[in-house]
Symmetry: C2
């Protein structure tokens, strides 16, 4: 795999220069990228058209083609995204700890870039610029491996970014694209520990699992959200219906949308009656036998349904006898993303937040708020569903590490 | 692999209880463990003798047998270690961030246990109790997989810990030992993502690499230290000799000892003269041709020597023309652990600390200080040489994650 090794070596050799850039220099490059996007709309759309034509020949669904398609408005949105990254505070250089040790050593714990980050994603060309801009702002070099269906769009976008780097006197290998989109190259990339410090997969569950299973490089697991709303015995049912409706239907295709409701048996009659009135069949329900006593179900729910991220107008439902049963169900089937209890009981709220193992645990609010922008991070490279390094919405800090700088005057250890 | 699945399921089901224990309860269990170690010395030594006899039959080296051997003093040291863990502040429950969002949501970012931690280590029974105590204090359940040579010792130690848990009314599955030490079970353990949240290998480079290559669970890479001292053109040569001598010979077998010296050509004549006087042949030197002009070398150094962690009275050496050459060499061969420059130049010090990619970068001090106790963490479960989650010495905080607790009054997203 000489090809991917070379990309790795290029990134690593660009690292010292890129990691040392000041905020002003980095923002200068990002401005040049933003401007290049705005002035090369025709060129980008031309390249994107090649991808779309090929995708049509390959029989890609219209929904997928829509995700692949770049329009003037979408390209402008990309440039706006880069401008937004410019406005974010630079996380690099922040002193996050340190002290003078008894032996006179001065210790400073300082935030630094991670190094080289690999992004593996599907055929969404908007990820290309977004991910590169965030990695670069945090002082990292980035190797982008997008889906083969978007290769022409990605080449056009990455070439513009590399030109912008060059025009600012920076090493263009700060941003590289894996142009050979074969599976072999992707697998080799996932074992390039020598050059890549971190891999972030962005896409569906299949992609993420493939990266976790094949990578020897540290991975941040993102984006799978099999989220629940539990309606407690003491819940305000109208509030529960509003939250369920919002969390399920406001944007069903995203990871912080819910896929399941768990309803305390005492809350079930009123909850299902009001939810049915609200939805009027708009959302298909796969429920257990107790659910089926109150509402029409598409089918009886099995474990597969409880484990599925529908990302659609479909939801799984279960009537539970206690909050403990609800918590156990969530900890068994959840993906540790976002979970919610609707309750008026302080004890239930505390128990749920303490026992449910997830990045974000809500009391009386929609799970849809788990989001870098909503959380005030200013940006989001993904939502981590793992527990190491970063959990929940990932902003620029997630793309940094730290090092200890220690200054002495000849101290030795006795 | 039903066996290891069962241990995983046991740990996961103990998690909610263990993660919710208060500091007082956890310290109570640790006190019971410490007391049990002190009152069962004979029993532990008896079990350890079985391991030693078997090891002798297997032809284990005396150095390795020494690492395996438990004496009354060493068991007392283990108990002291547990007492030390009791005295550490409990990291769990610390509020590390949060705010009220514009929409009225109250967000609290709270430190919580990671969950279930797997420790894979070699035949050092002192690790067994040490690792279990640290994981437990941070509210985690732990699955210990030690080397087969120490299996009887480990069984005795883990049984005592489980008895102590039971005697305090806690779920004994907070601490479990993998008694089947076959490679198949170890490999299955490394893919138990469903139950294990984090794997920490503790041991030599071979063990660590095997875990990184085989595990699909997030791993913290620890302990490999191919560390350097670079003697700058402007160095105080006497200070450089003292630092090199300390970092190499004070305890050669540990990861923060140095394995290489890089010497600016202008500093080389005096440095090598004084270092030879100091060492009188006590340390074997594998050097490049320029080194060989000044000192007797064991052999000319090749890339393998520069990449080797000798952990012995042996060092690799290279004369360099510039600080840039030294930095490039370190970034190529180093393991990102601890690196040192000896210099009187402010510019060299800054450049070195900025450009060298390592957990701890020293100016004018021995690399031997990279240590949880020296850094004031109070304990150490290892020294991370990776960049995610934790870097450098790992204290109790490294065994925690956080979650967002979000409280609202019916907020939905528009």
């Amino acid at each position: 795999m000489e090809y991917i090794e070379q990309l790795g070596a290029n990134a690593k050799s660009a690292e010292p220069e890129i990691s040392a850039l000041g905020t002003k220099e980095k923002n200068g490059v990002l401005s040049a990228i933003s401007a290049a996007l705005r002035t090369h709309v025709t060129q980008i759309i031309g390249a994107n058209k090649l991808d779309i034509e090929q995708a049509r020949k390959n029989g890609m669904s219209e929904a997928m083609i829509d995700r692949l398609t770049l329009t003037e408005a979408r390209i402008s949105g990309m440039a706006d995204g880069v401008d937004k990254v410019i406005s974010l505070p630079d996380p690099i250089g922040e002193v996050i700890g340190g002290s003078d040790l008894p032996n006179g050593l001065h210790v400073v714990k300082k935030r630094v870039p991670i190094g080289t980050i690999g992004i593996i994603f599907e055929s969404r060309p908007n990820v290309t610029v977004d991910a590169a801009a965030l990695c670069f702002k945090a002082g990292n070099t980035v190797i982008l491996r997008g889906g083969s269906d978007a290769i022409n769009s990605n080449k056009a976008l990455v070439n513009l970014m590399r030109e912008a780097l060059k025009s600012c006197g920076c090493n263009e290998n700060a941003v590289q694209l894996v142009e050979d989109t074969s599976r072999d190259v992707a697998n080799a990339m996932m074992k390039l520990n020598k050059y890549i410090d971190l891999l972030i997969p962005r896409g569906g569950g299949g992609l993420i699992r493939a990266v976790i299973e094949n990578s020897t490089i540290p991975v941040i697991q993102t984006g799978e959200g099999n989220c629940h709303v539990y309606v407690d015995e003491s819940a305000d049912i109208d509030m529960a219906v509003d939250i369920i409706n919002n969390a399920k239907t406001q944007r069903p295709s995203v990871c912080n949308a819910i896929e399941n409701i768990l309803v305390h048996e005492k809350a079930a009659p009123e909850l299902f009656r009001k939810l049915s009135e609200k939805w009027q069949g708009k959302v298909a329900i796969r429920g257990d036998e107790d659910t089926a006593k109150f509402v029409k179900v598409e089918k009886l729910a099995d474990d597969t349904d409880y484990a599925t991220e529908f990302l659609d107008y479909r939801i799984a439902s279960k009537v539970v006898k206690s909050i403990d049963e609800a918590i156990a169900h969530i900890n068994r089937f959840g993906t540790k993303h976002s979970e919610c209890i609707v309750t008026e009981s302080l004890r239930s709220a505390e128990l749920f937040q303490q026992r449910v193992d997830a990045a974000a645990v809500y009391v009386n609010a929609s799970t849809r708020f788990t989001d870098g922008f909503e959380f005030g991070l200013g940006a989001e490279i993904g939502i981590s569903t793992q527990k190491l390094h970063v959990r929940g919405p990932m902003g620029l800090e997630a793309l940094t590490t730290y090092k200890y700088l220690i200054n002495g005057n000849g101290q030795i250890r006795s």
